[in-house]
Assembly symmetry: C2
Homo-oligomer: 295 residues x 2
Amino acid sequence: MTQLKDAMATTAREVERVMDFLLPKADDAEARVFQAMRYSSLGGGKRLRPFIVAQSAKMFAVDERCALRVGAAVEFLHCYSLIHDDLPAMDDSALRRGRPSCHKKFDEATAILAGDGLQALAFEVLAAEETSSDAFVRSELVAGLANAAGGEGMVGGQMIDLLAEDHELDIGAITRMQRMKTGAIFAFAATAGAIMGHASERHIHALHSFAQELGLAFQIADDLLDEVGDSNTTGKPVGQDGAAGKATFVSILGVERARSQARLLAEQAARTLDLFGERADLLKQVAAYVVDRTH
Amino acid sequence: MTQLKDAMATTAREVERVMDFLLPKADDAEARVFQAMRYSSLGGGKRLRPFIVAQSAKMFAVDERCALRVGAAVEFLHCYSLIHDDLPAMDDSALRRGRPSCHKKFDEATAILAGDGLQALAFEVLAAEETSSDAFVRSELVAGLANAAGGEGMVGGQMIDLLAEDHELDIGAITRMQRMKTGAIFAFAATAGAIMGHASERHIHALHSFAQELGLAFQIADDLLDEVGDSNTTGKPVGQDGAAGKATFVSILGVERARSQARLLAEQAARTLDLFGERADLLKQVAAYVVDRTH
């Protein structure tokens, strides 16, 4: 795991630099929304999605600077979703990555606008010539991220998750919800490098399957951390889903079966990358990493 | 004006049909967010921005179906901004287009998600091959709308507008704020047809200037309606800016000077289109229309 952790730390550092460069920083009257966008996207996070973009891009010999821009765009999209999810009307979380959430640090209106601005920025970055000299690639990336982020992806999944406080979901419904809420963005991250590298349909499909399994494994691990984790390590409150009366993988399967299910999914995810040989070693290790992480 | 009103009504009908086709309508667990997206974007509005896209596209012989898709994307973006602007943490408006605003009809969480989903949908539509067979055009459209919508455009303008409750703005600051908040999206709408039609820089520049003047004229007319209008006609509460202690064009200039300023801007806007000859007649009439409208 040392090799993986070093590689993740390197990508996290590099994508942070690119994000800092891409985020607006003018000192004009609107500066408050830029401060909130920067507060909620810089200086934290494992940068797992950018790492997946970077590794997928590396397999197809894509220019690293282009991959980091796409990684930054995915992370902006992810950070916008965290800001909005934390709002009082949504999950009402006061803490994020061990710091006050955006609406606690600023205010609700600024947090709504900062999320909106980060979503627009994600698409602006993808559509810029610096991200790919191939306009077809740029528009494929935009179409892919927009689809993953919208009503049939992340936004739809979050809607189902909110409604789950009143309607108990079974394991099939939770799986579908998580595929939409987190899986779709993972799938975009994993296939983005392949799209940039003009990979074959077969390769894109393998990376898509990998991300689907990885996303579910990641989510079960998240539910386990919420159930048995420590808020000092996770940097956010624990036990929230149970308190909200929401069914989760853990509440349905129990802790032990959820753990073995997460490991099984991680192994399946890794196997879908066998066709890439050694090139995919770090991505395979990511699968093991997401189920063993403590935060 | 009869010719203009007929043409606007025709475009409004056609763009409504395209929007209805593009909006998700699945009956799955996430259906509530689709209902909210449809509620807040269908069945109302003058569709001024799609009309400007359609007219600008017509001048450059762009396929009308493509123009209507771009018009729908701009309108989705506009409707998302109205949903979020109406939220309790923002302008706290209970009424929109004569009906309950989105968070009143549904709830705050659903309204936040519906806005987020509409923003993603706008970019998804622009990036789709059906919108333009030219990938470079698609990515230019995405880059243009994202820039107009983000922190340096609409979101930044809305931030300044919110802060204006505590910091009184002068006429220069209000002009800058309105150029960002509404002008940038008008400018995108006016230049989108030119981008689709591979127009010259000179033509794109003229349309951009037109939209900047038009946007300001539109905003002054909006302030006048807020000051002296009738909520039965406007379909939204009046007198809100004054009540919030916000400086507006009208509070600074007074009703009469604001009226003549709006007319002057509308005339300037029309003149920037002289180089297009008769082709621009309807767009020129739009400028007069926005200052004379009663809702």
